[in-house]
């Protein structure tokens, strides 16, 4: 049975004059692996930090496991594993000291699991954090995030700043995570390929607003690009519903729609303004770009 694990209601966050999140509503159920996509400054990190309860929102509410994350911060965080964009563990601690420090904070900390993860990640226990490479630091942070068997795992751009080899290695680990006991994984990334490999749900954020939240399957299946040839360069005299993005170049009209409905093609073909139409499938990268370009066009 799926239950709601995370519920963001009218969530807003303002930094001085800048609105980082604008009335965000998002519900994530157990079993989901959600990929949070968005360009730089879209509000992804702010959203995840509010979700974990690191910061207090300017407005709205975050409920995790049915509890308000601010009022029940400690209790909720007992079951959350979090890896920030640049993990800042104490640089002077050794890996073993970080493990000992974190074990005191988590009631469900499993020393055997921590040791296993340490071996799997090939982390040298006696090495200080400041002596580790960026990839190793991410692994150390991931160890802390996983060793207490969290119900919810939140990863904020975990691949950021890693070389391709380290990225591949971490990607394998994340793919394995899907099959472990964590009920829900939420992660943000710039890399669409990474998201495609791991996520089964997608949420796209831009300028603090949630543009779309759907399953990966529905997103790929229901988002189509219609390429239409216009008779004389003028658009038909009716508005298309569900337009994500559109572009007209002389007689060529490209329009991305979501959700796609085959009856749209019949409507377009029946129009005197259009001489022919074709429908294209889109990759997740194209879909993401069209959603972002679409909001910019509207602005």
């Amino acid at each position: 049975m799926t239950t709601t694990l995370v519920e963001l209601s009218d969530l807003s966050m303002r930094y001085a004059a800048q609105l980082a999140l604008d009335s965000l509503n998002l519900t994530i159920k157990s079993g989901a692996v959600l990929g949070l996509l968005g360009p730089n400054g879209a509000g992804k990190s702010t959203c995840l930090r509010l979700l974990v309860g690191i910061m207090r929102a300017s407005g709205g509410q975050v409920r995790v496991f049915g509890k308000d994350v601010i009022a029940n911060g400690t209790a909720v965080r007992q079951h959350i594993g979090y890896v920030p964009e640049n993990p800042q563990l104490y640089p002077w601690m050794t890996v073993a000291e970080v493990m000992r420090f974190a074990s005191a904070a988590y009631q469900n900390w499993s020393s055997s699991l921590a040791d296993d993860l340490c071996r799997t990640f090939e982390l040298p226990k006696d090495r200080r954090i400041k002596q580790l490479s960026q990839g190793m630091k991410v692994k150390a942070a991931l160890l802390v995030a996983l060793a207490h068997r969290p119900r919810l795992l939140v990863l904020d751009e975990p691949m950021s700043g890693l070389d391709p080899l380290a990225r591949d290695e971490l990607m394998e680990i994340f793919v394995d995570l899907k099959h472990q006991e964590t009920e829900c994984v939420i992660f943000s990334s710039h890399h669409i390929d990474d998201v495609t490999r791991i996520a089964d749900e997608i949420a796209i954020l831009n300028e603090g607003r949630l543009l779309v939240h759907e399953s990966m399957e529905a997103m790929l299946l229901d988002t189509k690009r219609i390429e239409a040839v216009l008779v004389d360069g003028r658009l038909p005299g009716f508005d298309l519903p569900q337009v994500v993005w559109q572009y007209v170049n002389r007689r060529q009209w490209s329009v991305t729609v979501h959700p796609f409905d085959s009856s749209l093609i019949n409507t377009l073909n029946a129009s005197d303004a259009i001489s022919s139409t074709s429908v294209e499938d889109l990759s997740l990268e194209q879909i993401f770009k069209d959603w972002i370009k679409g909001t910019k066009t509207q602005c």
Binding site: G73, Q88, Y90, M93, A102, A104
Partner: protein
Amino acid sequence: MLRTLLWKDVRLNIVVLRLAAILVVVSYAGMAIQGVTSGIEGQFRGGLIQMIIWGGSAMSHTCLQFSLATLSANLIASERADCSAEFLTYLPITRKEVLYSKGLLLLGTCAVASTVHFVGMLGAAWLSDLPLNDLANLAIGLLFISAAGWGACGIGWFASCYMNSNSTSLLTLIVGFPAVNVALWTVVRFFQLEDRSNAIFVSAWIGIGIAGFIWGTHHFVNRIEP
């Protein structure tokens, strides 16, 4: 958890704590050298040892105030400076627990060192041939130094709670404490209160210390970001 947090805070502030320990050693050693070279230990019935304990404790207690103020300025801001404060906030630890640990380190260091100094100084003074009047002056001197230290700690703590870098909070302390003293001295001179200057300075420092700790703590607990 408190024990682990305390261990972390001790390690995080180890440079300041080591500096404090060095100042203690230097104070007693300096007094020993002075006693040997100047021969003033003759005023003490217990001789050189008694003189070292008394003078060394008084000097060490003065130095302690600098160490405590530096520690209070370093306690919170240093974790923001290396961004490790965020690590602490996403662990299931309350800000109150974080505060208890830091407060315990500050108060613990103060309590242990002050007790040693006070017992040393009073014991040595009691056994000396000093008249009662001198003992009273000694007590007033200790109160004066302690009050100034408390005020400096309050400024350091306040700065540490607000600043994102321990360098900035230390700078605030270094600039703020003399500035407060100059302001106080100006008030004393302007209103011609020289005969009550000690009482004014002590009360002002105690007030500033209390305000600094309360204001800083309130800000730390309610701060939006780590």
